[in-house]
Symmetry: C2
Subunit: 485 residues, 2 copies
């Protein structure tokens, strides 16, 4: 732990200022506006809505002013979409770039459409390039062009260069504000450079200084805390870390997130095709990316598309109905298999009663394995080097699961129906759970090798396999053993 004893003693002697401590703003958790999970309280929201309904902008302003910009953004998201423009109109001075940058994409797009290009351009100019890009990247090209035309040439150029990279790559997401210095400097030179009041276009927040060669390629990196703790005369090349993680400008955001996780980075240099330093990624942005990427898989696997609760209803409908129609196709395939055994069902209606159990448990087992596989692929844990081991592992788990479930259902069916039917359902269950385990690994791995996102389509195929195999194994065994048909 930091040893601040000496300084604290000093503080006790000197400390008049210490008495001021009480005028600091409250901790943001558990105040009158936030609940224990740091969400805005419903009562607070109601008071804002009431003030908006009563057309009392002064009261609205008074209520909203104490909020952090990120909370103002949350407030917009919690309001009905009709109330959002009213709120914006009541607090023009609080509508800072930070609020806009923190808004949910859908809510922001809505509000951007309501404003003219001039107003949007004015907001965009307040923002860092990466936030400004977020602001306009989802707009129509014509609207983008109109907004860019209103901007200062320098800002416009930065945004255009970001938009030239594909979505979700480092080039699109990186910050173009960073500190880079040549390698012949000493620590003292660097400190003087940073302190030089004329360097007013240095970023105000940075954690790392990049050292570059004449071709502007990064040769090392130096954290501010090392600079702080090193004598002025030391050459930078002696303090800097040479073995740094470099992010290619075309790297996908998911990989960027994995790099930050793996190497526990706070910031990292982004390099272009020629290895030149062009930007940096910082951990505060990466926290967003990692959350988005990992959360996306839940939504993709369930076929919920973007899955944002602020997504317009029409978009949610289009994303989800596609999935339901695809699943309708797979359900029809399963149905066709049942139809093959119509005569058997007519003869022994217990088959119809029991067959969904085999399909359903197989589906669950397949989904379990698929979720594990998709997550392992996303985290770079499952590679060509260990796929075979993973398949073997899942087969063993499936055998254990299959046997357990088969015994339970087999005994129950033997008691309630006939021992023979119990044996058939138990055998069908083992077969289907093992097939489910195999499909749960194989389908996502195949999609990954075909360079497709395994989270997007695996589920449809795995479900089709487990449903069809469930009905086929159960009904087929019933017929084959002479139970019916």
């Amino acid at each position: 732990m930091a040893d601040e004893t000496t300084l604290e003693d000093e503080a006790m002697r000197a400390g008049d200022e210490a008495a001021q401590a009480d005028d600091r703003p409250d901790d943001r958790v558990d105040d009158e506006r936030h609940d224990e999970d740091n969400r805005l309280k419903p009562e607070y929201l109601r008071s804002v809505v009431a003030a908006l309904d009563e057309d009392d902008p002064a009261l609205v302003h008074e209520l909203v002013e104490p909020l952090h910009p990120a909370d103002v953004a949350d407030l917009f998201e919690l309001l009905d979409s009709d109330d959002r423009p009213l709120l914006a109109a009541a607090i023009p001075d609080l509508m800072t770039g930070e609020v806009i940058a923190e808004l949910n994409d859908h809510v922001r797009d809505d509000m951007m459409e309501a404003l003219g290009p001039e107003a949007v351009a004015e907001i965009a100019e307040q923002l860092d390039t990466d936030d400004a890009v977020q602001l306009i990247e989802d707009l129509e090209p014509a609207e983008q062009a109109a907004i860019l035309a209103e901007m200062e040439p320098e800002d416009r150029a930065a945004i255009e260069s970001a938009l030239a990279y594909p979505e979700e790559t480092a080039g699109r997401l990186m910050s173009r504000d960073f500190v880079a210095v040549p390698e012949h400097l000493t620590v003292g030179d660097l400190i003087d450079y940073l302190r030089d009041a004329e360097q007013d276009d240095l970023p105000t927040e940075f954690w790392e200084v990049f050292i570059v060669d004449l071709a502007h390629k990064p040769v090392g990196t130096c954290q501010l805390s090392w600079i702080m703790r090193t004598p002025r005369a030391t050459p930078l090349v002696e303090v800097m870390k040479r073995d740094q993680t470099l992010i290619p400008v075309t790297m996908d955001q998911e990989e960027v997130g994995n790099m930050f996780q793996k190497y526990a980075l706070i910031s990292a240099a982004v390099i272009d095709e020629n290895g030149r330093l062009v930007g940096q990624m910082t951990a505060d942005d990466v926290v967003h990316i990692v959350s988005e990427e990992a959360g996306e898989d839940v939504l993709l696997l369930s076929g919920a598309g973007d899955g944002d609760i602020n997504e317009p209803i029409r978009e949610a409908y289009v994303a989800r109905v596609r999935w339901l129609v695809a699943n309708l196709g797979t359900a029809v395939v399963a149905s066709a298999i049942i139809a093959l055994f119509g005569a058997a069902i007519e003869q022994l209606v217990a088959l119809a009663v029991l067959m969904p159990i085999v399909a359903s448990i197989g589906g669950n087992a397949g989904t379990q394995t698929m979720a594990v596989t998709v997550r392992a692929i996303a985290m770079n844990q499952l590679t060509r080097a260990n796929t075979r081991r993973m398949i073997w592992r899942e087969m063993r788990v499936a055998m254990l699961n299959g046997t357990t479930v088969a015994v339970l259902i087999g005994v129950a069916v033997a008691l309630l129906f006939t021992p023979q039917l119990g044996a058939v359902i138990a055998a069908a269950m083992v077969i289907n759970i093992v097939v489910a385990g195999l499909a749960g690994v194989a389908v996502p791995v195949i999609f990954e090798r075909l360079d497709q996102d395994p989270a997007v389509a695996s589920s449809v195929f795995v479900t089709m396999i487990t449903d069809s195999m469930g009905f086929f194994a159960f009904l087929g065994l019933a017929v084959a053993t002479g139970l019916a048909g």
Copy 2:
């Protein structure tokens, strides 16, 4: 962008050192050991395994030495569990605390069990407290005590204090290394304090200095980059940010992740029950936490438990079979509903052929809504303030989805079977998809209000509702309209 023109010109004149640029280590991506996604290549892994099999520790060492510690950890995870102790024995000098800290929990626990308490204590003492806690928190209490007994009293006290907080809270996860100074200092005082060579217990890496009052409560925070850019005579109280985000020591890691995301933090102060500064959380750790929390939901929703591919088979079996047995229960409920309509099915076997379609699509629709709801709850987007709006939204999406799917299946069934059966399946489909939408929101929201993790159990209930309702609506309507039974 940072303006480094002047310095670069200078570099061109001075720059002999610049010519050294070529001896820097390669960028870690796309070298002979890594593929384009920064994963270890199968060929590289094979060469390590071959060297281990040939019992050639010198060659193993030569192969592994160039790796970053995080890659050494990856290598352990990719190896079969039998090969892991062999690798550890071949590279004793490369088995640093950093490698151990980066290992997957299951792989690390395995290796810790193989070592004695003395060896583990020695490794733990190399690590920061938070990493050392991770190392031993999953061990049996007796083993923990044995290891702690071997450690230096100071390290032991820090670890014991961390272990006193519940798992996954800030108190368990925070770093106890931070820099805190009293508030009467100037920027110059702070710089002198940091540079003071005798302060050798200051952390080497930090991004932010916390300013505390006499009671050691945080009153403000100051990023190193602001200190760098401010004249020495300026009092700290003028530079520091007073409105900082404070993390209570009992806060759950999921909330910590949400705070970092919401306020775009790089580091934040952790305070105890009395508001005193006791630690800090940094964004590099939070990136891990956010990934874990968001990824966990995919696995929990699918009933895959911990879902780690390194989890021992027995643990994976226990976690998953519980879920399958629970689902067996819900499948039996659905089955019982079918049994009620045995006579109808006997009379019209088409009912048995078609009924899984209604249940299956309802299940998919329910899963979609449930995934969106669970994610929104996790991200603090769905609160008491907007639940009603969310339910209404999902009802509208469900009506649209239900109508679309109902028309498709209704027409197909009308053509292939009878118009009356087409009408029945269409009506059952609309009913089931709307019920699915309602259940998909209501079930996770109810679990959340009961302080249960909505990702854990929602799925069983939603599936039970959609399966049962699917069979009941379809078969019930068929009987009610006189089609059969």
